[in-house]
């Protein structure tokens, strides 16, 4: 009851504001979460916006320092308490969309984003068909910092050479292999493996194309093994490692200042080296990620649009350049990327050098990071090729599990089987694709408390055999020995959960 009242009120408010919003200027309270280091800058930028914007909008902004890492988690914990505008690393994107914590961009905004940003980063802000965020940076990738006094110029292209140098000098080669899928993927990308995920408009992951467990993948882990089993390997990605006995650290632009501070003139920056397996050399790949800015879903369309305008401004050319000047954040804005200043920055230059070998991060299932990161450990412990293969198998098994875990699948019933019809298959599936014998399961729908019915009817030939099973596993499968179809016909398949009885229902 209380709720309904509230609902009505909010709707009325929406309408009212719509009506005379455009008439004269709008005042809008807004909370914004940005990283500590750009807090003040952002404040200034908003002042700027208030002063200059042509729409007569004035924002009373409360700006809080919230690291990109926390922002997403916080938004998800409590959307109501969350900020109207917030920044986050792209790996959080899907979670946010799922949680309904980021607003879908209006058509105008979507167009603007597509127009001003590179395809890779746009993809990062896209789920299904729709855009949900504004690219903020495009420098979320890694490259190699090294100590010139330890690693000679000529060695920096070969991982093996670098490892040798480190071992000789009793120094570390810091490359986070044991606790980070983000870094560890580098080896797989080197050999052309990919893990591409597809999300729908709700941010739900619907399928994955993953080739880590493949001959190429095996090569990748062989290369990885060279590194992780070396005494000089140190699984870390902290620039500060140079202070504690590292000669090489693979990390990103954010550590530039720290490293420079420690190494001074000895600092060297370069794209990642290549490793060699069976005489073939593979250049280490990398993720090419970005940070995004999101807008919280709004109840009031005017505020919604106003916030979009602000977000566009904050991720526009000027603001991105300001951030670059102040904090050396690599811009995602095409025009900004083109400017000499950006081109000249050594960190970004290295990133640029690495870019041919890097893949846009796109959408990746939240659990993937946890699943993939363990490969490093497994590879380290592996003594032979079988061990390496096992690591990859485990990996694939868990990836597969991700999709069977959802409750509807786990507790839902499906049909699986075949028959001796002419073409060997008794149906063409909903995508019109043909399925192999006892291959793919066919969906059923719950029609009553305990009764399930096949999603469609099929022409089933006499002698067709099938089972109805639960959770895509054979633990619960009926009937005990396959169901045999006596006479051909156009049937629905009906199953009773409680009795476990399977029957055919003629359809016309």
């Amino acid at each position: 009851m209380k709720k309904l009242v509230a609902l009505v009120l909010s709707l009325m408010m929406v309408l009212s504001v719509c009506s005379f919003a455009s008439a004269e200027g709008v005042n809008i309270d807004v909370t914004i979460w940005v990283a500590e280091e750009i807090k003040d800058l952002t404040a200034a930028q908003i002042e700027e916006f208030n002063a200059t914007n042509p729409y007569g909008i004035t924002f009373n902004a409360t700006i809080e320092a919230v690291s990109e890492a926390d922002a997403a988690t916080n938004m998800i914990t409590d959307v109501e308490a969350g900020a109207d505008i917030f920044c986050f690393a792209q790996d959080q994107f899907a979670r946010l969309v799922q949680a309904g914590a980021v607003a879908k961009l209006s058509d105008e905004s979507a167009a603007w984003v597509k127009e001003n940003n590179a395809a890779g980063v746009v993809a990062a802000a896209t789920s299904g068909e729709a855009l949900f965020a504004y690219p903020l940076t495009a420098d979320n990738g890694y490259f190699m910092y090294y100590d010139k006094s330890v690693i000679p110029e000529e060695d920096i292209d070969s991982m093996e050479a670098i490892i040798a140098d480190c071992e000789a000098a009793g120094k570390f080669f810091s490359f986070e292999m044991e606790s980070s899928a983000w870094y560890l993927a580098s080896f797989f990308f080197a050999t052309g493996c990919v893990s591409e995920w597809v999300t729908d408009d709700d941010g739900q992951f619907i399928e994955v194309y993953d080739t880590f467990n493949s001959p190429q993948g095996l090569i990748a882990v062989k290369g990885m093994q060279k590194l992780v089993q070396s005494s000089s390997h140190n699984s870390s990605s902290k620039g500060a490692e140079f202070a504690s006995n590292s000669a090489v650290v693979v990390t990103g632009t954010w550590d530039y200042v720290t490293v420079q501070d420690i190494l001074g003139d000895n600092m060297g920056v370069a794209d990642l080296p290549s490793f060699e397996v069976d005489g073939v050399s593979y250049h280490l790949g990398s993720f090419n990620g970005c940070k995004l800015m999101g807008v919280k879903p709004q109840v009031d369309s005017v505020k919604a649009e106003a916030l979009e305008l602000l977000a566009e401004y904050l991720t526009g050319y000027d603001c991105q350049m300001q951030r670059f000047d102040a904090r050396a954040w690599g811009p995602s804005n095409l025009a900004a990327q083109a400017s000499e200043a950006v081109q000249a920055n050594p960190g970004l230059a290295a990133l640029l050098a690495q870019s041919p070998y890097s893949l846009p991060q796109g959408q990746i299932h939240g659990s993937w990071w946890d699943i993939a990161k363990v490969i490093g450990d497994d590879v380290k412990d592996a003594t032979d090729e079988a061990g390496l293969q096992l690591a990859l198998d485990n990996y694939q098994e868990k990836i597969a599990a991700l999709f069977t875990l959802s409750d509807d699948v786990k507790f839902g019933w499906t049909i699986i089987g075949t028959c001796n019809s002419t073409d060997g298959f008794f149906y063409t599936d909903y995508n019109g694709e043909t399925r192999s014998n006892w291959g793919e399961d066919l969906p059923m729908e719950k029609v009553s408390v305990d009764t399930w019915k096949s999603a469609q009817a099929w022409d089933i030939e006499a002698g067709a055999e099938f089972k109805v099973r639960q959770g895509l596993s054979w633990d619960n499968a009926f009937p005990g020995d396959n169901f045999k179809v006596e006479e051909a016909g156009y049937y629905y398949i009906v199953f009773n959960e409680t009795t476990g009885e399977v029957s055919l229902e003629a359809a016309e």
Binding site: M1, K3, A99, E108, S236, P297, Q298, V299, E305, A401
Partner: protein, 517 residues
């Protein structure tokens, strides 16, 4: 098994005695559970009887009650007013008014929604507006409807309130009954003043307990009930009940998901088993290493002829003063791969950078390290507590032992230890269960690391993860499966409860109070 009389028992050899005791213990267990079940049964029986009795009493009170009493069934506090107990009357009436008001305004809604946990989730509306940029623009806004989380929360609260109301109603009836009796017996009825006075005197405990208990009820009992309920829903990151999908009742599915063995080693049950085992091992070592070493230190400090006792004690006690989040976080950094400890060892030349000690990377080593660091944390407390008790051991016990020719070690094993174990039995039990749920140490030290790659359970279980840290990580993980966390929580409770129950009934200090007194 054959029961021995005391005298027969005494004739047994050491080994037989032990065996006999063991037998007694195990043969005792089924009996214990039998009694437990019986106790529960009788408790239910009692409950039933009580309810019946209450009901009967209500009827009788109405039958032979005076007019005000009868009215009070409908209008609470009426009777009290009639008898000039305006204070009680007012309170009763107020309660009734508030209750009815609340139920009409809000309570009804929450209660009604409880079975479904909400009917309509949020929906995205595309509105084409005259854009601020000029022209038109399709803007997407969200309209929020029900909120499963709030429904569950306020639903439970409403239930609480109803119970509270029924109770007050009952009290109000009983009051009237008593008053009727008093009037019949021609005594004078307590006035508001008397009530007030008694609240600081003979029923002072009510005053004392009122505040704390309300707090506990709302901030401990209610959340726990909520937590238990969540275990029967599908509340998780993708069903957060408000901004994306509502969540709904799932019956026992979650327990099935957690406990079924269908997928063997990769099933959650397997993970749960592993974590449970480690939790128990941890709790055991954490408790007893601290206990014995703490006692040792205490004895060392208190030994005759040891100088600046106070100094030693102060140093140790001070470590209690430093907040754990500082000391633990720092210590965990000290033991890191490139941390101070390893560096020190390298400078000493005891290890080279090829063989750094992987305190946090190697499962077994990590587990040992946390236990050792926990000793470092725990000893000061135990030192304090045991000091106190050691002082209480009557000196003449030792003197007589000395005269009987007991060595220092014998004195320790034959007098000190039994005494300590006896007195501190309950304490040990509580600290054992406490350690099972020792979140801080693990979370701040390792955060559960190193990761257990074999497990496919949510929350990336680590080798040093306790059940408690694991369930926390489940809520924080990518899918944040709150419902699974609650299931784990409930299981933790069951484990702790069973352990305490069994141990508690075996503790000598509970069984035979008099020894050593």
């Amino acid at each position: 098994m054959t029961k021995y009389s005391d005298l027969e028992y005494l004739r047994l050899s050491k080994g037989d005695k032990f065996l006999y005791r063991l037998k007694c213990f195990f043969s005792g267990i089924p009996l214990f559970f039998k009694n437990l079940i019986l106790a529960i049964a009788s408790a239910f029986k009692k409950l039933g009887l009580a309810v019946a009795h209450e009901a009967a009493d209500l009827v009788n009170t109405f039958k032979n009650g005076s007019v005000p009493t009868r009215v009070s069934y409908a209008v609470m506090g009426f009777g009290s007013f009639c008898r000039g107990q305006w204070l009680r009357g007012l309170l009763f009436l107020l309660m009734e008014i508030i209750f009815i008001g609340y139920m009409i305004l809000a309570g009804g809604y929450w209660l009604g929604m409880l079975p479904s946990l909400g009917l309509q989730g949020p929906e995205q509306v595309a509105t084409t507006v005259t854009s601020l940029r000029g022209g038109t623009n399709t803007v997407y806004t969200t309209v929020y409807h029900d909120n499963s989380f709030r429904i569950l929360l306020y639903g439970v609260l409403t239930l609480f309130f109803i119970v509270a109301f029924i109770y007050t109603w009952r009290v109000n009836i009983r009051q009237n009954k008593i008053n009727d009796q008093i009037i019949r017996s021609g005594k004078k009825i307590k006035s508001a003043g008397d009530d007030m006075r008694s609240l600081v005197d003979n029923s002072f405990h009510k005053t004392l307990l009122a505040l704390p208990l309300t707090g506990i009820l709302i901030f401990t009992v209610m959340p726990i009930i909520f937590m238990i309920l969540v275990a029967f829903t599908n509340y998780d990151g993708t069903h957060n009940g408000f901004s994306n999908n509502l969540f709904h009742w799932m019956g026992l599915n979650n327990f099935n998901e957690m406990l079924n063995w269908s997928s063997g080693a990769t099933s959650y049950a397997a993970t749960f088993g592993e974590v449970l085992v480690w939790t128990l091992i941890w709790a055991f070592f954490a408790t007893f290493t601290n206990y014995f070493l703490g006692m040792l230190v205490a004895m060392a400090i208190n030994k005759k002829g040891i100088h600046f006792k106070k100094g030693w004690r102060t140093i140790l006690v001070l470590t209690i003063a430093i907040p754990q989040f500082i000391s633990l976080l720092y210590v965990s950094k000290m033991f890191a791969r490139s941390g101070i400890v390893n560096n020190f060892l390298m400078d000493m030349g005891w290890i080279d950078q090829a063989h750094l000690i992987k305190f946090w990377e190697d499962p077994t080593l990590a587990r040992i390290t946390v236990i050792i660091i926990n000793i470092w944390i725990g000893i000061p407390y135990l030192m304090l507590i045991t000091t106190g008790i050691l002082m209480n051991i009557p000196a003449d016990l030792y003197e007589s032992a000395k005269i009987d020719g007991a060595s220092a070690w014998q004195q320790y094993t034959k007098i000190t230890l039994p005494y300590m174990l006896f007195v501190m039995g309950p304490y040990l039990l509580t600290s054992f269960t406490g350690n099972m749920n020792n979140f801080n140490v693990i979370y701040l030290l390792t955060g559960g690391a190193p990761t257990n790659n074999a497990s496919s359970a949510p929350g990336t279980v680590g080798y040093t993860d306790l059940l408690i840290t694991w369930l926390f990580k489940i809520t924080q993980g990518a899918e944040s499966k709150y419902y699974l966390a609650s299931v784990v929580g409930i299981l933790v409770f069951v484990v702790v409860a069973v352990i305490s129950l069994v141990v508690y009934n075996l503790l000598p200090s509970i069984k035979n109070e008099e020894d050593f007194q």
